[in-house]
C-alpha cells in the first residue's frame, strides 16, 4: 500500500423513485444508499458486507458512476466524478473496472475469449495495431493464469472459475487503479473460490491495485480485506480495520453477523456464543425510524426508535453508528 487516497466518498446518496399507485404512493423513493462516507487508499482492499438489500451493489455502481447519485460526492484522485462531463468521465473509466458475480452471464457468448479480453483495448487504445492488441491480450491472460492458446475458445466451453478469470483479465488489461469486485466468488465451488481469491490478492500486490470487495461472505472478506465496512439498509453501521473489526465489533448488527457465520470446526461451533436475530431485513422502501437496525436489534431502547445514531470514531479509525456502544468516542462526527 502506498497510502495515497485514491477514492473519497462523501455523504453519497442514491435514491430510486417508486412508481405511484399500488405500493408506496406518489413521489416516494427507495433510499438504497443514504449518506455513505468512506475512503480507499491505493493498494488497499475495502470489504463491503451486508445482507441482501443493504445497498452494497448500488453503492459500488454509484461509485463507478454507472448509475446517477442523488447527493454527495465521489472524489476520485481529487476530482468529483459525478461532476465530470462525458468526455472527462470516459477518460477516467479506464482506471476503474468491475467484475461480477455470475462469470458466464457477464461474458458475451458470441465473442471469443480473446475478443472479450481485448474489448477495452478497442475502446480505449484504438491506436494499437492488431498485433499489439493480441500481445496485450496474451499478457493479460497469462497474468490471470489462462493459457494464451485458449484465446480463440468461447465462454460456454469454460467452467465458472475459468470464466471468472476471463472477467478478471478483461478488467486488468487497461492496468486500472481500482477494481470493484461484486460478489466475485459467490457462485464458485469452494476449491475454485480459493484460486480466484489468491489471484485477486496476487494482482493487487503486483499492480498496487485498490479493490472494493463486495460480499455477503464474512470469512472471505476477512481473508482478502484490509478494512471492512458494514452496510444495513443503505447506511454504514460500522467501518474498521479488519482484525480489529472481527475481534472487537462495536455495532450489535456486526456482532450478530459475525456470530451467524458458521466456522468449519464442529468443536468450536458448539461453544461459540450465538446472537440469533429475529425476523428478516425490513423493506428498504419503508425503513424503521431512528436507527435502521432498531427493529431487529437486541440492544434497542426507546432512543433507537426515535433518533438516528451518528457514525462516530472510537479510536484507531474504528467507526460505528449506535446509541449503545459502551466506550466513549474520540472525535465528533464530521
Amino acid at each position: 500500500m502506498t497510502g495515497e487516497t485514491l477514492l473519497a466518498v462523501r455523504d453519497l446518496k442514491v435514491h430510486f423513485p417508486l412508481q405511484g399507485g399500488m405500493f408506496g404512493g406518489k413521489g416516494s423513493v427507495v433510499r438504497a444508499v443514504d449518506g455513505v462516507d468512506f475512503e480507499l487508499k491505493q493498494g488497499e482492499t475495502l470489504g463491503i458486507v451486508g445482507e441482501s438489500g443493504c445497498g452494497k451493489s448500488t453503492l459500488a455502481r454509484a461509485v463507478l458512476r454507472l448509475i446517477p447519485h442523488a447527493a454527495g460526492e465521489v472524489v476520485w484522485l481529487g476530482k468529483d466524478l459525478h461532476a465530470l462531463d462525458a468526455e472527462a468521465m470516459r477518460a477516467e473509466r479506464r482506471n476503474m473496472q468491475i467484475i461480477f458475480q455470475d462469470p458466464l452471464a457477464s461474458l458475451d457468448p458470441h465473442m471469443s475469449i480473446g475478443a472479450i479480453i481485448g474489448q477495452p483495448l478497442r475502446t480505449f487504445h484504438r491506436e494499437l495495431s492488431r498485433q499489439d492488441q493480441r500481445r496485450r491480450v496474451f499478457e493479460a491472460m497469462r497474468q490471470v493464469g489462462l493459457a494464451p492458446e485458449l484465446a480463440d475458445r468461447f465462454p460456454h466451453e469454460f467452467s465458472g472459475g475459468m470464466c471468472q478469470r476471463v472477467g478478471i483479465a478483461r478488467a486488468m488489461i487497461l492496468k486500472p487503479k481500482l477494481v470493484v469486485c461484486d460478489e466475485p466468488v459467490s457462485a464458485l465451488d469452494v476449491s475454485i473460490q480459493a484460486q480466484i481469491i489468491n489471484l485477486l490478492m496476487d494482482l493487487q500486490r503486483r499492480f498496487d491495485l485498490s479493490l472494493l470487495f463486495i460480499s455477503h461472505n464474512l470469512s472471505v472478506v476477512r481473508h482478502i480485506s484490509h478494512r471492512v465496512m458494514v452496510l444495513y439498509l443503505g447506511k454504514v453501521m460500522e467501518i474498521a480495520e479488519r482484525d480489529e473489526f472481527y475481534a472487537r465489533p462495536l455495532h450489535p448488527y456486526s456482532e450478530a453477523l459475525i456470530s451467524a457465520v458458521p466456522i468449519p470446526d464442529p468443536l468450536l461451533e458448539r461453544q461459540r456464543p450465538r446472537i440469533v436475530l429475529s425476523g428478516d431485513l425490513p423493506s428498504p422502501i419503508n425503513p424503521p425510524s431512528g436507527c435502521r437496525f432498531s427493529s431487529r436489534c437486541p440492544r434497542a431502547t426507546e432512543i433507537c426508535h426515535k433518533a438516528e445514531p451518528a457514525l462516530l470514531d472510537y479510536g484507531r479509525d474504528h467507526r460505528a453508528a449506535c446509541h449503545h456502544i459502551p466506550i466513549t468516542p474520540v472525535a465528533t462526527p464530521r
Partner: protein, 340 residues
C-alpha cells in the same frame, strides 16, 4: 415443536435420537445413471450409508459430486432419463424405484424434501393455507377445520410471526427467509421420519441462515427426524451435522463423525476442501491452499479414483484401480495412499 397439538400418527412416530437404534434409512450400492445423447452418464456410484432417528448427516461436495441427484433418487424424483440402481431401505421398506403410488403416500407424509429455492415446492397460485391444509387432508384424513388448526400450529412452530394472518397469503408475499420457513413448515406438517434438505440455506442471508439451521436442529432433537443435509458449505456442516459424507465425482471419498472429519481429515480431497476454505477466525492473510484444476465433470467415468487428476498424493494405480473402502468404527475412507 413438541407442544404443538399433533393428532395420533398413523405411521409409527420416529424415535428420539438414540445411539445404535435401527437406521431410518439404509442406502447400499446406490448408482445413478442418465441416458444422454452422448451415452450413459454416471452421476453417482457405490454410494452407501445409514441414517438413524434424530441424526443429521451432511452430504458435502462441489458441482458434479452427485449430491443433489442422490436426494432426488431417494425421493423418486430423478429426471425421466435417469435411473437409480442398488437399494434404499426406508423403515424396512425398499423405496428405490418403488411404484409411484407408494412413493406418493410416503412423500410429504413420512419423508419430505426441502430445496434451495422454496418456490420449487410451493404453488404460486394457491394461498399457503390451501397448500398446507391439502397435505393434512390427504395424508392424515383430517377435516378442514382440524387441518387448518394444525397448519397454523406448524407455522407458529417454525416461528413465522403473525401466522394467523400470514397463512392466508400467497407465497410471493413472503420474504425469502419467511418463504423458506413456509416450505419447512410444509415439509414438517406430518412430522416426517426423514427430511431431505438440498442446500436450503444457500440463497439466504447469514442471519436468516442461522435461524433456519437452528430450526432444523430443533426438529431433529425434538421429534427425532433424521436429516440428510446437502451442502457445499463446510461451516454449515460443522454447525449442524453429526456425521459427514464427502462426495467427489459421484463417489464417497470419506465419511465419519463431524468432529473426526474436521479434526483429522484423511482423504486428500477432504483436506483440500478444508484448507481452501477461508475461516472467519483466521488471522493469517497469506495465500490460501487450493486444489488445482476444476471439479470433475460428471460424464467422465474413470476406472480409478475420481479425484486422481487433482490429487497431490496420486500414484500410478490411482488412475487404474478403484480404492477399496477402509473402515474403522464410524469412519470410512476410499484412498490408496492414506491409511485410516
Amino acid at each position: 415443536m413438541s407442544d404443538s397439538p399433533v393428532p395420533a400418527n398413523p405411521a409409527p412416530p420416529p424415535q428420539p435420537a438414540a445411539a445404535g437404534g435401527a437406521p431410518i434409512l439404509s442406502v447400499r450400492d446406490l448408482a445413478i445413471r442418465f441416458r444422454t445423447a452422448d451415452g450413459t452418464v454416471t452421476a453417482a456410484a457405490d454410494v452407501g450409508f445409514d441414517i438413524r432417528a434424530g441424526e443429521i448427516v451432511g452430504l458435502v461436495g462441489e458441482s458434479g459430486s452427485g449430491k443433489s441427484q442422490i436426494l432426488m433418487s431417494l425421493m423418486g424424483l430423478l429426471a425421466s432419463n435417469g435411473h437409480a440402481s442398488g437399494s434404499a431401505v426406508f423403515r424396512g421398506e425398499e423405496i428405490l424405484n418403488a411404484p409411484a403410488r407408494r412413493l406418493d403416500a410416503l412423500r410429504g407424509a413420512s419423508m419430505s424434501m426441502i430445496f434451495q429455492d422454496p418456490m420449487t415446492s410451493l404453488n404460486p397460485y394457491l394461498r399457503v393455507s390451501t397448500q398446507l391444509v391439502e397435505v393434512l387432508e390427504r395424508h392424515r384424513g383430517m377435516t378442514r377445520a382440524e387441518a387448518m388448526a394444525q397448519a397454523l400450529a406448524i407455522m407458529e412452530s417454525v416461528r413465522i410471526p403473525d401466522a394467523a394472518r400470514r397463512i392466508r397469503l400467497y407465497p410471493h408475499e413472503f420474504s425469502g427467509g419467511m418463504r423458506q420457513r413456509v416450505m419447512i413448515a410444509m415439509a414438517l406438517l406430518c412430522r416426517p421420519a426423514l427430511l431431505l434438505a438440498d442446500e436450503p440455506t444457500t440463497a439466504l442471508d447469514v442471519t436468516v441462515q442461522a435461524q433456519i439451521l437452528e430450526l432444523i436442529a430443533d426438529l431433529a432433537r425434538s421429534i427425532g427426524t433424521a436429516v440428510l443435509f446437502v451442502t457445499h458449505d463446510l461451516g454449515v456442516v460443522a454447525r449442524l451435522c453429526d456425521r459427514v459424507i464427502v462426495l467427489y465425482g459421484g463417489r464417497i471419498m470419506e465419511s465419519g463423525e463431524a468432529t473426526d472429519i474436521f479434526g483429522d481429515p484423511k482423504h486428500p480431497y477432504t483436506r483440500g476442501l478444508i484448507d481452501s476454505t477461508p475461516r472467519l477466525d483466521e488471522r493469517s492473510h497469506g495465500e490460501l491452499r487450493t486444489i488445482p484444476g476444476q471439479p470433475r465433470a460428471a460424464q467422465l467415468a474413470p476406472m480409478g479414483c475420481p479425484f486422481e487428476p487433482r490429487c497431490p498424493h496420486r500414484v500410478v494405480r490411482c488412475r487404474t484401480e478403484r480404492p477399496a473402502p477402509q473402515e474403522a468404527g464410524l469412519r470410512q475412507l476410499a484412498c490408496h495412499e492414506v491409511r485410516l
